[in-house]
Symmetry: C2
Subunit: 640 residues, 2 copies
């Protein structure tokens, strides 16, 4: 009995909303900055260590992960990495040559780019699955952006200089983002953007391959579908049927192998080996049929030897700042799969070193990484194995590519790109979230009909508009009582929720900022008008209380506080009582500082909707207060 | 007994989270668009009307408010409007001349602009307090932006053409925003932005007046403080002391009158009449002392007569598109006090008509509107009275301004501008919301040290970054049980809240979008790690359940769903059970469509945190299920 009495007397008082003590400004700023820039708390392990030398070692291991895993490396690991490395090398050689072709660079540069960068990444990268290499989209970007400045045919030397300069600045930009802890910028590329963008870019790259497959010599420099189609269909008399048939055959071969390897996952190596097989088959075919004399273009001579230094080719003059622009826009999109700032630093360093050794932009392409993963790689040593295999190719095997037909390279690119057009993901987006589908479609259409940058800008713009709209037009809704409970929930979501006579409970579902303060003021007054109209038409009790459920209001600014002040004036004019329920930490602090708590009265701020409703009911019925508070506003009742 | 039993048996089942039925896509789109573009539901009254003619009348009244209030106009209203109209006219004449001077336009244009636009606004405007006229900041903007293209001294005709063209396009732009229901774009200028921007612009305008007060002939075309100060202090030998002393006297007079009128609000007319008094005093002084021959510049001849048509002066050629740019940037900032799309249309029409009748940009300046309000205006008729008074001035009184010294005009502008530097508001911002203060400061520094556009861009950028940061780095926090209740609240805000052994309750305070999905994934896993570390160091019970309180998650996109899927994988790996509490309408719909509900299990989604905790406790203790559910998960228990 004693306990029960205690409990009741204690709970007669509704719970107070706590106003957290004000923290010094600099302390708040520091903790906010830390949360923004160091959300992963990278040095947590470091702080636990007592000795300085141990801290240094851990710090070094953080930046150079090979120091961490190399001591634990075993022969079993090496066996797995060897298999995986050789598998990805067999993919890297034909893809390297093909993508270099796409970037309008000499094929040999593609091989260089599969030699040095993987070695750098093996030291610095923290992912064991990533297989480093050139990427189709980046190659296309290089060729369209640099191609506007310099013709790769007329001035190959300057073009190459621009390409390595672009690579250098892309690396610097990536590494700086990583060091400045700004890696979260890439988070602003949503999954939907990437699906649409990659599909669009893949489509564009496929269209470009029609040049190689149809054996055309002149071709548009534009990448949009309209220009490409016009270029193709105004040259129907130039189509080389030999080349076309060869291309279709190889494409069919490559797509068939992929189809089988997709059905049975342990057949992945068929898929991985198919490009190299195609190159070998194509070269042999040309060599024996002398097809190069019948309209089938071949690679021609490739010089032997490892990467020459290209440090003297870096061109920093202002007319070459174009390269910086390529680098920046490139770094902006390609890192979507990079986990954090550390990976950014690794990729950046890889590209800086690459630009000094005749490589162009490299990254961790999805397709090659997937093959690496399927081949069972254990550590980044698979990248080292690939690099060694490519080195072997560079030193001894380049003459073998003399007869490789360009059409095979086009088929390889096309097959890889068709795999990137992810219509299933797009359909999933449509099913789950129409707005995400619009983002995806925007990116796709932008890339295919405009340019790579257009697509990116459209998608990012649509995504940002969505987020801004969420803030500018927050959802508001009426709450009702779930029968047989003290729970209050949205009457839209729970049709069985019942409204409380004389009381309107309004929930606001976003932080209140300048961007929505005006809207919310109008919307709240509309809710009140509509509710009054409804009650009037029913002839029931009139509206007396407006409870604002502030649970979901995470923050408020001064415009928002002005809005609340105006709502208070508005309700006063209509002789309604404004009641707040569950204002959160940040909000109650600012309401306190701006004296709004005094305006509304501390006694009209409740911890839960249920307590607020109980207090309103008590005022409405002016019945025995003890009865109401014990039954409804006690410690066991509920809220929101 | 029967009732009690019923109640218990019903409440043994926890409440189900409802999944709202899927609405057709087009219906959702339509209601979303309506909420975004017609938040004020302007045609609500219209829909209620049964007859078409009544609808037409109401529609006309909506767009031309004078039709609504004119029939109800009374003589008592007119008396009040007459007084207010004459008061604002006494302000409009000197201010009109001064601001035209600031815009490098002939003084007479300033008077024209106080004649036609107020008449138009009286027909279309829906605010009864707004007094229409030219604005200092817009005048400055005109002179700096157009001054870069054409010199107002060397080519006054072309300069005037550009000014009316700019006005025309500003009008078209405003009206289109109104018709397209895009008025909410101006909501993105926060209160803090406006305080900083207006104070900065006022400072800049004040600095420009030093030219007039010191009687300088040559002056920089730049507006930033550095250029202005350099221009002034390199010409110390050119300073005219006569002019300076006169200016200081008038400034002192104007500031004194304002000081008194601020202390006693019924003295407002002293403040309202002071500028005209200054003009009269100054003119008389110059006339009798022949000060114009001793370095005091005067206005000189003004031609009599009403506005000439300027339709032929509209220049649409591409070199004059600069005007469009002025118009757009002007329309962007000046409408901050315009309530809605309707006001935008009114202001737009006013400027279009104005541009055809030799007027330049007009708006509803804050200071004049305040005087109008204090003078007790009842309807927009006060604007008509003002227009008539200005017409009278234009027809008969212009010769009187021949001897008006320019230094008086400078003093008038300076006094008005000093009133706009709102340091008290800035201090209030600092006190309540440091981030808003940063926005304000950014706008001020940008305007004063850069240009009007720089300030605006800086302020809008800082404001947007704040909102994006809110989304990109949402607050997360642990919830605890408020003693003697079933309420769960943030342990940061309520230090007495107690954590539940073996259960971690995590609250996420923002919609989950691509911009924060990565962050949240990392942050949630860090919360789990930290909680496990803490429990381990205490040696108590280990963590078994992670409850995500989704009350404040207003929406989710596909990236967010992927994030949840990864969190689920992560908790599975650590052998923790993931439980969701109170997913909202939009969220549960998408979780359902994406099959995530199946992944997590419908039985692990609860309506309230309390019910989720009760279920976890039941699993933890594996005691008699009936006991737990009756005591803790029944209909009366509470949540969040």
């Amino acid at each position: 009995m004693g306990t029960a009495f205690d409990d009741t007397s204690r709970s007669r008082q509704p719970h107070r909303v706590a106003i957290p003590p004000a923290k010094p400004f600099l302390q708040t700023l520091k903790s906010n900055l830390k949360e923004t820039l160091f959300p992963d708390d990278p040095f947590r392990e470091l702080k636990k260590q007592p000795s300085a030398s141990r801290k240094l070692l851990l710090g070094l291991q953080y930046f150079i992960p090979i120091l961490e895993w190399a001591p634990r490396y075993t022969f079993a690991f090496f066996r797995a990495d060897l298999v995986a490395g050789i598998t990805i090398a067999s993919l890297a050689v034909p893809q390297g040559i093909s993508y270099a072709q796409l970037a309008s660079l000499p094929p040999i540069v593609g091989l260089y780019s599969s030699f040095v960068p993987p070695l750098v990444y093996a030291m610095l990268g923290s992912s064991r699955d990533v297989a480093v290499g050139t990427v189709a989209v980046a190659s296309l970007l290089i060729s369209t952006m640099l191609g506007k400045e310099v013709s790769p045919v007329e001035n190959p030397k300057l073009y190459f200089q621009l390409a390595v300069t672009a690579t250098f600045f892309a690396g610097v930009f990536e590494a700086s983002l990583g060091f400045l802890r700004l890696g979260f910028i890439v988070d602003f590329l949503s999954h939907a953007t990437i699906v649409g963008f990659m599909s669009g870019a893949a489509t564009v790259v496929c269209l470009q391959q029609l040049k190689g497959i149809l054996g055309l010599v002149h071709f548009t420099h534009e990448t949009d579908i309209v220009s490409v189609m016009r270029s193709i269909f105004t040259q129907t008399h130039q189509w080389r049927w030999e080349s076309g048939i060869l291309g279709c055959c190889f494409l069919f071969f490559l797509l068939t192998t992929r189809y089988f390897s997709k059905r049975k996952s342990y057949f992945f190596w068929i898929n991985a080996m198919a490009p190299l097989t195609s190159v070998v088959l194509g070269s042999v075919l040309v060599y024996f049929t002398h097809a190069e004399k019948h309209g089938v273009q071949v690679i021609g001579n490739l010089k032997k030897g490892l990467n020459p230094l290209s440090i003297t080719d870096l061109a920093f003059g202002s007319p070459h700042l174009e390269g910086v622009a390529v680098g920046r826009s490139f770094a902006q999109y390609k890192n979507y799969h990079i986990d954090g700032n550390k990976e950014m630093i690794a990729f950046g360093t890889m590209n800086i070193v690459g630009s000094l050794t005749s490589c162009y932009l490299t990254s961790g392409p999805f397709s090659r990484t997937a093959v690496n993963y399927n081949a069972g790689c254990k550590t980044a040593v698979s990248n080292i194995v690939m690099a060694v295999a490519v080195m072997f190719t560079l030193l001894f095997l380049t003459p073998l590519f003399h007869y490789t037909p360009l059409v095979v390279l086009s088929s390889i690119i096309m097959a890889a790109m068709l795999g990137l057009i992810d219509y299933e993901a797009a359909f999933h987006l449509w099913k789950v979230d129409k707005y995400d589908f619009a983002v995806c479609l925007g990116a796709y259409v932008g890339v295919v009909f405009g340019s790579v940058e257009t697509g990116l800008v459209i998608a990012v713009a649509i995504s940002l508009v969505r987020m801004l709209l969420f803030l500018a037009r927050p959802k508001t809704g009426l709450l009702g009582n779930i029968p047989n409970s003290m729970i209050y929930r949205s009457m839209d979501q729970y049709p069985n929720a019942e409204s409380v006579p004389g009381v309107m409970i309004l929930q606001i579902d976003a932080p209140v900022y300048f961007a929505n303060a005006n809207y919310l003021r109008e919307r709240i007054s509309r809710w009140i008008d509509e509710e009054e109209d409804k009650l009037k038409s029913r002839g029931g009790s009139s509206l007396q209380f407006v409870i604002l459920d502030m649970t979901s209001i995470g923050n408020i600014d001064t415009s928002g506080i002005s809005m609340l002040e105006e709502v208070k004036k508005n309700t006063d004019r209509k002789e309604l009582k404004l009641v707040l329920a569950n204002p959160r930490s940040e909000v109650i602090k600012k309401l306190d500082k701006s004296q709004f708590i005094k305006t509304i009265g501390q006694e009209w701020i409740y911890l839960t909707v249920a307590e607020a409703v109980a207090a309103c009911n008590y005022m409405l019925h002016t019945c025995n207060p003890k009865h109401v508070t014990t039954a409804e506003a006690n410690g066991q009742d509920s809220n929101v």
